[in-house]
């Protein structure tokens, strides 16, 4: 019962926090320098993470699927499976999870240590809103940068699949591309490209929430960083599930 009320009051605080952030977003141009710096830190610097993540998942997907399809003599479908899988599901999910860890840990530990050393109080004391100055730039940066990162993962994943198709299953490149591109519908692109925005919003707000409400010294900061990474990863999976379900039922 006690944990239940705790979860409820936590959710309530989070909702109020998100409300403040959404209000602050209308004033986001005031601190565009901070937003640009965050875009560099959480976007440009995560380029290799997205690239590596996408590439290896694409390769694994092609190998696993390829061997199964080979049994039915349907190797030409490898391209289709990899491209659909990468763009609709695996590209966004793997980028989401990697960024939940990377961006989540960064936001929570930064804001948490600022909270513990009274830097957040200093901001408030000098008449600056910590939400506007510290959190909105992080949320905006995530919203802008997650789609390009997901695209990088998608593309490198499909290229990885191509590499496997050529080397392991000895197929012609043109077959692969034909099969990969033919299968894609506008709907798939739409779903695949919409997910990153939701992931970005929840990862950024959850990790900032845990950061700014850190208390209890170093141990508290450690605990909150764990909570932030775990809850944002779970959020990524749950949002993805909702999307998939809705897409199959409605579209």
């Amino acid at each position: 019962m006690e944990t239940f009320t705790k979860i409820l009051s936590g959710l309530q605080n989070y909702t109020l926090f998100v409300k403040d952030i959404i209000r602050g977003m209308f004033r986001c141009f005031k601190y565009k320098d901070d937003a640009l710096r965050e875009m560099y830190l959480i976007g440009a610097k995560a380029f290799l993470v997205a690239l590596g993540g996408g590439l290896f998942v694409g390769i694994i997907l092609a190998i696993e699927v390829g061997h199964q399809l080979e049994l039915f003599g349907a190797k030409t479908l490898i391209g289709r499976t990899v491209s659909l899988g990468m763009i609709r599901e695996i590209g966004p999910i793997i980028t989401g999870l990697l960024l939940a860890a990377r961006t989540g840990a960064k936001n929570t530990s930064e804001l948490g240590s600022m909270q513990l050393s009274e830097q957040i109080d200093a901001l408030r004391a000098f008449g600056t809103s910590p939400v506007d100055r510290l959190i909105v730039p992080r949320v905006v940066a995530a919203l802008i940068m997650f789609l390009p990162l997901t695209l990088i993962a998608d593309i490198t994943g499909i290229l990885g699949g191509m590499f496997i198709t050529i080397t392991t299953f000895h197929m012609d490149v043109s077959f692969y591309w034909h099969s990969a591109l033919d299968a894609l519908l506008l709907k798939d692109l739409f779903v695949g490209f919409l997910k990153p925005f939701f992931f970005a919003f929840f990862i950024a707000t959850i990790s900032c929430y845990y950061g700014i409400y850190t208390k209890g010294g170093t141990t508290g900061l450690g605990k909150n960083t764990i909570k932030a990474v775990v809850s944002s990863s779970v959020a990524v999976l749950v949002i993805d599930f909702i999307f998939t379900k809705v897409v199959w039922e409605v579209m």
Partner: protein, 252 residues
């Protein structure tokens, strides 16, 4: 300028402040003295509106801030500068960036004016040439100076200091006390919170003594030295002894 009326504050079920009343007129200095845990920092937090008291009212520059929302408080807070006990410098920014962090916020200053303000503030605290250092590269006394420069940079009419000399060596402590006196001379309304009696005596002629979240006595140093209150006697015991020894020696 700053008025607290019967302020009581509870945090997590614990009474932190109990019926505190305080009045600091424009351009005057108040010294709040007390052992650690007395609630001195909490008084400053209440004045800044960082914590909201359950009872009583807080009036800053004629404006009742007790029930103001966080956004409504922003412009009131910009009248105040605060020097935190742990300095609370932004450790990912350089000294110069720390000093101008809030300047960009407040007024529409040009780049040139901002760099002039940075220079002016750093000169005032005798820290010329440290612009590009990071807080981690500074000594304790220097950090405190940067914190003071940051608070001064946007020329607030109220300055609050939380234990400005705690943790500093005597030489640095002395120069910080001199710095605070220099700032006072420009007519800034000042509140200094400290547990160090010597500094309190140099900085103000009227002291407010706090213990256990309550105000014990507000009086001049002379009257406090002769107070009949047990707590006041205990707090002033050491300095009374020193005075007696000095008197004794000068008699001989």
């Amino acid at each position: 300028m700053i008025t607290l009326n019967n302020v009581s504050l509870n945090l997590e079920g614990k009474q932190i402040l109990n019926n505190i009343s305080l009045n600091v007129c424009e351009g005057k200095t108040a010294i709040i003295l007390g052992p650690s845990g007395a609630g001195k920092s909490s008084v400053l937090r209440v004045i800044l509106g960082l914590w909201r008291p359950q009872k009583g009212t807080v009036i800053i520059d004629g404006e009742d801030i007790t029930n103001k929302s966080e956004n409504q408080l922003l412009h009131v807070r910009r009248k105040m500068g605060m020097v935190f006990q742990g300095n609370a410098l932004f450790d990912s920014l350089t000294v110069a960036e720390n000093v101008c962090y809030f300047l960009k916020e407040k007024e529409n200053l040009t780049e040139k004016e901002i760099s002039f303000r940075i220079k002016e503030s750093l000169e005032f605290v005798n820290l010329e040439g440290t612009d590009d250092l990071y807080p981690a590269q500074l000594s304790g006394g220097m950090k405190k100076r940067v914190a003071i420069a940051r608070a001064l940079a946007f020329k607030p009419c109220i300055l609050l200091y939380d234990e400005p000399t705690t943790g500093l060596d005597p030489i640095n402590a002395k120069s910080i006390v001199e710095l605070i006196n220099k700032v006072k001379e420009s007519g800034t309304t000042t509140i200094v919170v400290t547990h160090i009696l010597q500094d309190a005596i140099i900085l103000g002629d009227k002291l407010t003594l706090m213990n256990n979240g309550k105000i014990v006595e507000t009086n001049t140093v002379d009257n406090l030295l002769n107070s009949s209150n047990n707590f006041v006697q205990d707090f002033f015991f050491e300095i009374n002894q020193e005075l007696k020894i000095l008197k004794h020696k000068s008699v001989i």
